[in-house]
Structures are given as C-alpha cells and as structure tokens.
C-alpha cells in the first residue's frame, strides 16, 4: 500500500502550483545521502513533495513547525542508526522545553490513513482544504487520508476568519473541512451556513473536547444541508486517530467520542482508556539513540485519559490521569509549565489559566507573552491572574480544584 494514490492531487490555492511526480523525484535526489530528515513543514507544495519523497525512500522524517527554532531538537536527535520500520517523528506538544518525539512506523501511518479514510468515507471525489498546520497530527491526518484515496487537497494559509479562505472553499468546491474546538467557536461567530457553501458535505472535529451545545448545533446544521459532522478522538501517539462518532449516533450519544477505529478496540483498565490497534506508535524517543529502537508497545496504547465505555462500545472521556490541558488543540503538560515559571497553572476549556501571587497588571501581561512564546501558542490562550494567596489543601499542597472553581 502506498500513501500517495496515483489520482491524488495537491493544489496551492494562491499560486495555482500542483504537486507532480517529478517534483517528488527531484527532492528524493536531494535526500539521497540523509539518514534522518528534519523537515520544517509550512503549508506548501514544496514541503509536501519533500515529505512524500522521504517517506518513499524510507527515510524517517521529523516534522517541525517552520516558525520555531529547532537547533536544540536537531542537536539532540542526531542518530547514527535508525530503525528500518521508523517513518515519522512528531512532537507531542507545542512546548519547546520538552521535545519528546513520538515514533511512528510506516505501517502505523498507513493503517491510520486507511482507518480515517474508511470511517469518514473519503473517496476520490473529495476535496479537503488545509485548516490546520501540517506538522500537527490532525492536519497531517487530513492530508494522509485524502492522498490515500486519490482525493484532492487544497493548500490555503490565511484561515477561516478571512475572505480568501471561503473564496477558495467555493472555487475548488471543497467537500470536507477539519477543525479543532476553537475553530468551531469561530464558525459560530461567523454564523457558518452550509447552504452558502453547497460543496461542503463533511465537517470533522478533533483536537480536544467540543462543548455539547456546539456539537448539537453543527450536527443539526450539517444534517439540514444533507451533510455530516464527525466527532473524533485521538492522540499523536496513535498516528493520530482512535475513535469516530458516526454522525447518525450523535444525537443519542452526545458527549461520546465514538467507536474505536476499524480493526481496533478500547478497554478501560484501572479507569484508564487503553487502545489496541495497528496504528499505535512504536514508543517515544528522548534522544538520537532511541531512534534505533524497535516497537516497544506491541500495539497497546495507555492513553492517560480516564473514561468509560457504554454497552455498545461508545467511549466517553471523563478526565486525565496527569495534569494536562489543551490550548487551541495542542496538548500542554501543566506541571511542565509550573517547572519553568513561578506560577500555578490549571486548565480551562481551550485555555491555560495561570495564577501568580501579587503581580501587577504589566507584569501579568509580560508573563502571559513569555508563557505563550514558550508554549508556542497564541497569547490569547493564556490567562494570567494575580492572586493574594494560593488556596491550600490540609496537606499543604495546592488546591487545584478550588482554583478551577474560581475561574
């Protein structure tokens, strides 16, 4: 099986440039003497051609945010030897302070592209448009599942709050849009009406929990227009998709993230969601020598999420084992933030709330900018508040529940 179906097309909405086999060949020649490819991944034809060239030559690729500095990461992951199954390495969070990589095999990447394409019913008639960065696992998964089925992917870089994006949606007759929760908040603000963009038949949602009210609203809107909304659940560690909620079950399974991917299953072990499937990573890497390691998980992923399964196998996520948050779809380890800044952090819906003892408004603003830069996220995802004294539990530890309740 090949990720790139011969009929697949990739077109740049601005330049009109297309992906061609000869372009992939040309970049393949450039990569010939590289063992491991560190690839900054902007949303361009050239970056996608390089990426596909590396995959075809069986050279593992580390996908990187093109706007960030990766000198430290590149130095850390120099490798003399890489495992022959290793195809793709992705970072697990926006944080530059903790550059742990997820090791994905070629077969896991292909398996998940197939699982996603099957559960969404992607065909060669589909047209996707970029709505998320390609170095981010959800954005990459949209590319993979469409290339696999010989569909079309339109490259667009301005985003859904701009006229150019919607002009491209209509001009290229885009059929499928993929968004994370904050983008659904934007769509609501734009009073998105699928009837005004009749080519759009599919909306997908992943990258964190979308509030039930918005799931219902967009599901009904799509239904009325003859389209569908797919709620999905995943982690980069699963290449990345683990579950999809069939659109016709949204109404009676509201709050569920759906059923396990085809050929996979969920179990709850000590309250933790455990996923078994062909798309589970080989393991993490924390140094260059780890890139020579083989599969350490045997297809079993302990997700770190707490959850329950109903009698039909629908999964409901109820919390996290570790103190984690998500900001704009990107995972954030709250303890990491606390180790790097003199603050206390709790997670809100798509927001990081930070408490600092007795600081001025100016200092709070500066701290917000610093934390957001460190996380590689937008400043509006970080909220800094001054607090007289942190609430404490009887054992002297921070009372995080009380802080969350004060939001």
């Amino acid at each position: 099986m090949n990720l790139l179906h011969p009929d697949a097309r990739v077109i740049d909405a601005v330049t009109g440039e297309s992906l061609t086999p000869s372009l992939i060949d040309r970049f393949g020649e450039e990569l010939a003497d590289q063992k491991l490819v560190f690839l900054p991944m902007p949303t361009t034809i050239e970056a996608i051609a390089k990426y596909l060239a590396a995959l075809r030559l069986h050279k593992p690729v580390v996908l990187l945010d093109p706007d960030a500095d990766h000198a430290e990461l590149i130095a850390r992951y120099q490798a003399d030897e890489v495992h022959p199954d290793l195809a793709l390495l992705l970072t697990t969070s926006g944080s530059t302070g903790n550059p742990k990589l997820v090791r994905l095999s070629r077969s896991a990447v292909l398996a998940n592209a197939e699982q996603v394409a099957e559960s969404l019913g992607v065909t060669s008639d589909d047209v996707a448009i970029t709505t998320l960065p390609l170095f981010y696992s959800y954005g990459l998964s949209v590319l993979h599942s469409h290339l696999l089925r010989g569909a079309t992917v339109v490259l667009e870089r301005t985003g859904l709050m701009q006229r150019d994006f919607w002009t491209a949606v209509d001009a290229f007759e885009v059929t499928s849009l993929a968004f994370v929760p904050y983008q659904y908040e934007m769509l609501r603000r734009l009073r998105f009406d699928p009837a005004k963009h009749p080519s759009v038949r599919t909306l997908t949602q992943a990258g964190g929990r979308l509030r039930a009210e918005l799931i219902t609203e967009f599901s009904q809107k799509m239904d009325a227009a003859g389209g569908r909304l797919f709620v999905m659940y995943g982690q980069t560690e699963a290449a990345p998709r683990m579950a999809t909620l069939p659109p016709d079950r949204i109404a009676d399974k509201i709050g569920s993230v759906g059923l396990a991917m085809p050929g996979a299953s969920f179990a709850i072990e000590d309250d933790e969601v455990v996923y078994r499937g062909p798309n589970v990573m080989m393991g993490y890497a924390e140094s260059g020598t780890d890139l020579a390691a083989g599969d350490q998980l045997g297809g079993v992923l302990r997700t770190g999420d707490l959850g329950r399964l109903d009698d039909e196998g629908f999964l409901f996520i109820t919390g996290r084992l570790k103190r984690m948050g998500k900001v704009f779809g990107v995972r954030i380890n709250l303890d990491d933030v606390e180790r790097n800044f003199p603050i206390t952090a709790v997670a809100g819906d798509d927001k990081l709330h930070v408490f600092a003892e007795d600081i001025s408004a100016d200092d709070a603003r500066a701290l917000r900018t610093k934390i957001a830069e460190w996380l590689g996220t937008h400043f509006s995802g970080v909220d800094v508040r001054s607090i007289e004294a942190l609430p404490l539990l009887p054992n002297g530890k921070t009372d995080y529940r009380a802080l969350e309740a004060s939001l």
Binding site: T158, G159, L160, M161, Q162, R163, F165, W166, Y182, Q183, E185, M186, R189, L190, R191, F328, R365, T369, H378, F379, S380, G381
Partner: protein
C-alpha cells in the same frame, strides 16, 4: 475619546500591542500577531467598543485597519 482613538485602542488590545504602537497601517497577517485568533478578539473588541453587531461578510473582509474604518462607517460609526 475620539472614534479613531477608540478603534486604535481596540486593535492594540486585541493584538496585544503596546499602548503607543502605531496601528493605522496594519494589515492582516503582515503583523505576526494578527492571525485568526486575534481576528476573533478584534471583532469582539470592536463590537463591544462601538455597540455594533458586525455581519459575517464584514468580519471576513476586515483585513486591514483601513478596512475596519470603512466597515464601521456602514454601521453608522464615523471614524476620524
């Protein structure tokens, strides 16, 4: 405060710019802080400041400070 000052302040707040930052020549994505997230904050700030409800077409057309001035004019806010 004049309408122009109020609009400049709305831009500075939404884009997290210093209180004296020049904003009159700003264009979407020329400034690295003006992305889709900041755009949503900006539209909300302008709506609050001028007590208007901006239509979808105007939201996605508001690609520069000058455009914001023009659009506000449609809602009866004369920015000068």
């Amino acid at each position: 405060m004049s309408e122009l000052q109020r609009l400049r302040d709305a831009f500075r707040t939404a884009l997290d710019l210093p209180a004296d930052a020049p904003v009159d020549d700003l264009r979407y994505q020329d400034n690295e802080k003006w992305d889709s997230l900041a755009h949503m904050s900006l539209v909300a700030a302008i709506e609050d400041e001028f007590s208007v409800m901006i239509d979808t077409d105007d939201v996605i057309n508001m690609s520069s400070f000058d455009e914001a001035v023009r659009i506000l004019g449609k809602y009866g806010v004369d920015v000068k």
